[in-house]
Every structure is written in C-alpha cells, then in structure tokens.
C-alpha cells in the first residue's frame, strides 16, 4: 500500500504531465489554428498553407498522439509509484 506522501507525489507528477499536454493541445489548435493562422499561412507545405493545415488536419493528428503519450506516461507513473490496478 502506498503512503499518503507517495500518493501526493504521484498526483503532483500527474498534474505536471496534464499541464504539459494541455499546453501542446492549446498551442496546436488555438494558437496555430486560430490566433496565428494568418502569420503561419505565409509558409506552405505542399499545397497546404501551414495555418490552414493545423486547423483542418494537423491539430487532430497531434490530439491523437497526445492522448496516447499521456496514457503511456501515466502507465509508467502508475508503475513507479506502485498504484496500478491488480
């Protein structure tokens, strides 16, 4: 059984991870897809303007990667702090 302080450390580590992931979530959709869209549209990748690509393609790919990254890191945290389900 884990100690209360260890649970606290687990929770703090989780919060840090969540904050980091949400920062990426914000940047790719709200910042790149909406706020900075005109600035990024100057750059082209293939036939896409970059801002448009983030808004209609890129943000969604990154969302998927983010969730799996979070799930993977949390699995590691669960093991490290010994709080996994049996």
């Amino acid at each position: 059984m884990s100690q209360p302080t260890q649970r606290q450390a687990y929770w703090t580590a989780n919060l840090k991870l969540v904050a980091g992931c949400l920062a990426v979530w914000f940047v790719v959709s709200y910042l790149f897809g909406i706020i900075l869209v005109d600035q990024l549209n100057v750059i082209k990748i293939g036939g896409y303007r970059l801002g448009f690509w983030f808004a209609q393609q890129g943000s969604m790919y990154i969302f998927v990667v983010l969730i799996f990254f979070y799930a993977y890191r949390m699995r590691k945290l669960d093991q490290k702090f010994n709080v996994e389900e049996d």
Partner: protein, 593 residues
C-alpha cells in the same frame, strides 16, 4: 443491377448484421445492460465510442458545412475532436475509477447532494433528447428516400430497428452493434473520397490529396479552389470570415461540450481498467479522426466539382456557363427533392452560380448580363450524398453511402437512448423513488424506459418542434456550462463543496440559457427574442453558440468563490476524492454494486 435494388441489398445486409449481433450479445444483468459488464476491450470500446459520437450530422452535414464555409468550418473539426483530449486527461480515468453507472450518480455522491444529482439528470435528459430528435429525423429522411416510402413510415422502420437491438442488448448489444456500424460507416465515407481524390489529384489518400496539385498542372487544389470562388465573387476558401474571438470561443465551447456530453462519458465506464479508460479515449479519437481528417478533403473537392460543373468555361464568356438543358443526371435527381433549385433569372438558358451579395463583383456581373445568382437553393446536406454521383462513381458506392448514413444515425440514436433510459431507471427510479428495487425489476424498468424513450424520440422526430437545429447549441451549451465544470472540480479540487458546485452549475446553466434565449427567443418561441441575433448585438461579438465556454468560466469562478466561504466537504468525501485519483483498487470499487 439498378440503384434501388442494390441499395435494398446493401442496407438490408447491414441491418441483418446489426440484429444478428444484438441477439448474440443479449444483456442478462443490469451491469451488462448499463456498462456491458465493464468487459469491453479498449480498442473495441474506442471504435464503438466513435460510432456513438459520429452522428448523421458528422457523416452527412459536416463535409457540406466545410464545402461552403471553408476555413471557418475548422471550429467543428477541432472542437469535436479536441474534446477527447480533455476527456482522456481530465475525466475518463477518474470516473472509471469511481466505478458507477452514470454521470449524475458521480455528481450526486461527490457533492453528497440529491439536488446536485437532480440538476445533473435534468441537464443529461435535455441534452440527450434534443440530440436524439435530430437523429430520428435523419433516420426517417434516409429511409424514406431509399425505401421510397413516406417520411413517417421511414421513422417507424427506424424506431423498430433501434427497438430490437437497443432494448434487447442494452450497452452490451449496443457496443457490439456499434462496432459493426463503425466499419460500415467509415468504409462508406472513405471509398468515395479516395476515388474523388484520385480523380482530381492522382493521390489516393484524401488527406494528402487536399494538399496536392491538380492532375496535370502545378497548381495546388486549394489555390485553384480559392481562385475559382474568388473569380465568382465569393470569399477565398482558405480565408477567415468569422471573428477570431468568436472562432476561439466556439471551438472551446464545442470541446468542453463534447467532454461533458453524458452519452460520451458513459462509454468510458465500460472498459476493464482505469488505464484502459485513458487509451480507449485515444482509440476513439483515432477512429473519429479517420473520418474527420477526410471530411475537409471531401468538402473542398465537392465544392470544386460543383463549381466546375456549372462554370464550364472562363467567367463572363458567352458560353462559359452550363446549359440548363444539358445538366447532369444527379442535378435532376436532387432537383426533385427540392434541395437543389435553379431559376433562370436572365433567361439565357445557362446556369450562373456566383455571389450576388458581393458589392465588388456586382458591376462585373452586370457587364456579363447576369441578373443574380441562379442556384437559388443548394442545400449543404446534399454534398456527401450527391458526391459519388457528381464524380460518376458506380452504383454500389452510392448504395454504400446510404448504408453508411443510416449506420451513423442509428448508432448515435441507440447510444443516446441508452443514456436517457439509464438516467430514468437508475438515477430517477432506483436513486430517488425506490432505492430497494431488485435487479430484475430495474432491468425491466430500464427496458421500459428505453421503449418509452424510443416512442417519444420517434414522435418528436416526426413532429420536430421547429427548432431542432438551434437546440444543438443548447445541448452543447448545457454540457459545457454545467456538467463539465462540476465533474472537473469534483476530481481536481478536493475542497469543492456541495453549495459551491450547485451554485456553479446553476450560474453556468442559467447564464448560458439566458444568453441563448435572449437572441433566439425564450424557449425558442419565435418573436420573443430580446435582440436580433446579429453580430452587432452580441456581447463582445460572442455568438450564442459560442457562449458555453463563457458559461463554463462563470461556473468555475462562482463555484470557487462560494466554496471558499462555505464549510469544506466532510472527511469521507475528501477521502473519496483522494481515492479516485489513484487507479489502485478500482476492481473493488466496481464490484461494490
């Protein structure tokens, strides 16, 4: 084989499959009925969640919206996918650990308050019912078109099919049926997209085709589209037309709303472990993103095909426009439905499709002898259904699209009906009226509630209250402004107490409701609007659809302030919160009931 026979065969075969699965996966216990016995593999659950989430609106309407809104439609793409990030990071694993059947049950226990549970049940039922009306209507329209019966018979057929597999199978039956429905709908969506992308750009992957050059030229598809629409007075496809603040808030409202919709959250109670709840949200998003990243390609290519079909030569040249008598077969088919309408305003027998509201283009149009846009009706919803016909694809592809649209509508309807019946039998009957009810009786009650919900949904689908489109804003507004903040604070703020949570939910709910009613009429009754629904009247230019995010902020802020000046929650509640924060011991929690 003709199109009608083929459609019958394809649609019939898919339905036989769904009902067969329902019989195989009958539910025997309440737990199987509500949460499929928590034994669904995360990948399977993700696929079922994707089918549950993607409704007729995603399948049929979204690409049409994108085709005509261009860049501005990005709010729907990001809004309806980004919510899954919030779900996976902020809600799903903790609610799975809590180990109960419904969202309102969590709110009731976490805030040790029956009143809070009631508020949550109410939000849940309103949000789900408003959603299901649209689905039943979609099912009716689709059946009536493909079976060539009248609309009401179409709704009845849809009701009967949902009844068989939802009432019998419960969550278990629905989950396995939805997996089959996902396969049908994604196949139906991507096959025409691949063909069309290949035709236009030579690239078979629509996501890449959208960023490629047109076949045989060095002009990219999007540049070409921008050019074509610009030449006809429309704003450039890739340009922004909405205000940045409104786009920001609408995206945020849709994301928070998605994460707060009860029928979506419920899906994460069905996985075996807490860790599975996290990855299952990822799988759900993978399966959703396959359709959502294809949709922008479908939208842009459909718009391009449509424009080029009508504007056959240089803009303004004498024979640059399609002769009406030579219009293609699909054009005639959709004219008979009334969703596509042509009016020869200048009497030249040719079709002019341009933006007659553009002041800068007006002089040019006049010099060409054009007297107004002659495509007086182009319903956005026909784009996906007409797409295979516009691109001259074989009949079996068209039949497949019909089956896909039905799969999308039916899977969402079944998921919503389950959420409604669970709220009634578990939260209202077992939770409040008769707590001592036996499992058999509760199962019976939930089946009766489901049957009742199907009848009500069918009735409302046939007699839509006239505001079906507006209530979507309401459903998302409610979920975003009341349910999501209450759930999130329940997990992340140990000191959030009952009074704070209830005040927060009410503040969020009422501010959002009043803002929507202010511009759309009280209870959507026409003529009772307090101000015209235009950007000039909106508070800071925020549209009613976007206000859910503001409501959520007000909810968070007021709940926080109130919780600081009222007594903290009792010790056992603080322990409960600490307990749901760690995955360990989840099996015990789930076995509790």
């Amino acid at each position: 084989m003709d199109l009608k026979t083929l459609t019958f065969l394809v649609v019939g075969a898919t339905f036989a499959l769904y009902i067969g699965i329902a019989i195989w996966a009958r539910a025997g216990t309440t737990k199987e009925f509500y949460v499929a016995g928590t034994g669904v593999h995360p990948v399977a659950n993700g696929m079922a969640t994707a089918a549950d989430w993607m409704s007729a609106a995603s399948f049929i309407s979204m690409a049409g919206l994108i085709a005509f809104m261009g860049y501005d439609a990005s709010v729907y793409l990001m809004g309806w996918t980004g919510g899954y990030v919030l779900l996976a990071l902020l809600l799903a694993p903790y609610l799975r650990k809590f180990g109960k059947f419904t969202v309102s049950e969590f709110i009731g226990e976490r805030y040790y308050s029956k009143a809070a549970r009631m508020v949550a049940v109410l939000c849940l039922i309103v949000a789900s019912v408003t959603y299901v009306i649209g689905q039943m209507k979609g099912v009716g329209v689709a059946f009536s078109r493909f079976l060539e019966v009248d609309f009401h018979t179409g709704v009845f057929v849809g009701m009967a099919i949902v009844f068989v597999y939802a009432v019998m199978g419960g969550m278990k039956g629905i989950t396995y049926t939805q997996i089959a429905q996902y396969c049908v709908l994604i196949f139906a969506y991507t096959v025409p997209a691949i063909f069309i992308s290949l035709n236009l750009t030579g690239n078979p992957i629509p996501q890449l085709g959208l960023g490629s050059d047109m076949v045989g030229t060095s002009v990219s598809l999007l540049d070409k589209l921008d050019m074509i629409v610009n030449d006809l007075g429309f704003a450039a496809y890739t340009a922004q037309k909405k205000s940045t603040l409104d786009m920001f808030l609408l995206t945020l409202s849709l994301m928070i709303g998605t994460a707060g919709l009860p029928h979506v959250i419920m899906r994460f109670f069905t996985v075996p472990k807490v860790a599975d709840a996290r990855s299952s949200a990822g799988w759900a998003l993978v399966f959703i993103a396959i359709l959502y990243t294809t949709a922008p390609a479908v939208g842009a290519m459909a718009r391009l095909n449509l424009m080029e079909t009508i504007q056959t030569g240089p803009v303004g040249s004498a024979d640059g426009n399609l002769v009406y008598a030579d219009r293609p077969e699909w054009f005639k088919n959709w004219e008979t439905t009334g969703l596509l309408k042509f009016e020869d305003k200048n009497g030249d027998g040719r079709i002019q499709y341009y933006d007659d509201k553009s002041a800068t283009f007006a002089d040019k149009a006049a010099s060409f002898g054009w007297k107004g846009n002659e495509m007086v009706t182009v319903d956005r919803d026909i784009m996906v259904l007409a797409n295979p016909e516009i691109a001259n694809l074989p009949n079996w592809v068209i039949a497949l699209v019909a089956a896909g649209g039905l799969a999308a509508a039916l899977s969402t309807a079944a998921g919503l009906l389950l959420a409604i019946s669970t709220a009634i039998s578990h939260d209202v009957i077992k939770g409040m009226i008769s707590p001592g009810i036996s499992e058999q009786k509760e199962l019976l009650a939930s089946r009766l509630a489901m049957a009742g919900a199907i009848v009500v949904a069918g009735y409302l689908g046939m007699n839509p209250p006239g505001f079906a489109a507006q209530v979507v804003a309401l459903a998302f507004g409610l979920a975003a402004s009341s349910i999501f903040p209450a759930l999130m604070m329940g997990i992340f703020n140990k000191n959030m107490d009952n009074i704070g949570a209830i005040v927060g939910m009410l503040v969020g709910l009422l501010s959002t409701l009043i803002y929507i009613f202010w511009f759309k009429g009280w209870f959507f009754i026409p003529g009772t609007e307090m101000a015209a629904n235009t950007a000039d009247n909106w508070f800071l230019g925020i549209s009613p659809e976007s206000f859910g995010a503001v409501g959520a902020m007000l909810n968070f802020a007021s709940a926080y302030v109130v919780s600081k000046i009222t007594p903290p929650p009792p010790e056992h509640i603080q322990h409960l919160v600490e307990d749901i924060r760690v995955p360990m011991g989840a099996a015990k929690a789930a076995a509790h009931h």
